[in-house]
Symmetry: C2
Subunit: 163 residues, 2 copies
């Protein structure tokens, strides 16, 4: 394994471990728990769950993998803040969406070659990419991993109650 | 810039941006704000600030850069949970420690060559490293960046009051 392959492994390991952490945190909370705010007046678990799925859905487009799986989540979970729109989705359905999305993305990622990872993402032009070769698909995974960890730290604050 | 250098840049960019985010979050809170819990019954800002400095201090050893700058922070901020020990430090001093540590680490990181980044960290043996070349210094920065983002998401929940 050469250094550029090692770097890909390092970043994918962090992504996969973070997705696994998310699964563990969500598995410890029931659907009612997830309707609670992570702290008084802050986002609810429901919103953060939808937000993460919607942000990961954007990765699909940025990485040139096709269309979003759940475009209906953009409006309530990215464009708008929590508690602005009526709650349209069931927590149980969001959980299923997340699981399907994780499986689908894993299959896609497994098929990437090393060169694919260092190839430009779709929001950068070929011209810009020559000067800024770090704007590649691997960087999409890296930045969304840190985004996921940021919200994981918040989700972890929801206290489990006996419902 | 070849791919292995691009990967180093990507990971250091995320570290530097996360440290910058931490500065911005801390600058928006005064010392009294930081004595508050991020959510009811959870860690205080004070503890998370000390915890991050202590964890970053461990990086110094793991990356073979010498001894910790603030070994006295290990006991109250890593070994023990929040509110177990008497609060021994002033928030203002912790802020200074963090700034000095960030400057010192930046100087050290700036002097690293590309090969240094892919060299083994100090907690792995030469033998293990042959089989697991991802256990390098760059990975220390990557894993601590995700750790930092996890706690950043929590610090961001502290509401600023007019003290």
């Amino acid at each position: 394994m050469n250094k550029e392959q090692i770097a890909v492994k390092m970043i994918l390991d962090r992504w996969n471990a973070s997705i696994k952490n998310l699964d563990v945190v969500l598995a410890a909370l029931n659907d009612d728990d997830l309707m609670r705010e992570v702290a008084p007046g802050k986002n609810r678990g429901y919103y953060l769950l939808g937000h993460l799925i919607a942000v990961h859905d954007d990765m699909i487009k940025l990485m040139g993998l096709g269309e979003k799986l759940y475009p209906e989540l953009h409006e309530p979970f990215i464009k708008n803040a929590d508690k602005v729109m009526v709650d349209e989705f069931k927590v149980s359905d969001l959980r299923l969406n997340l699981n399907r999305q994780n499986e689908w993305m894993k299959q896609q990622f497994d098929a990437f070659t090393n060169d694919d990872w260092y190839d430009k993402h779709t929001a950068v032009s070929q011209e810009e990419f020559v000067a800024e070769p770090h704007r590649n698909k691997l960087n999409i995974v890296l930045t969304r991993t840190t985004h996921l960890q940021y919200h994981l730290g918040q989700l972890k604050l929801i206290t489990k109650h006996d419902n």
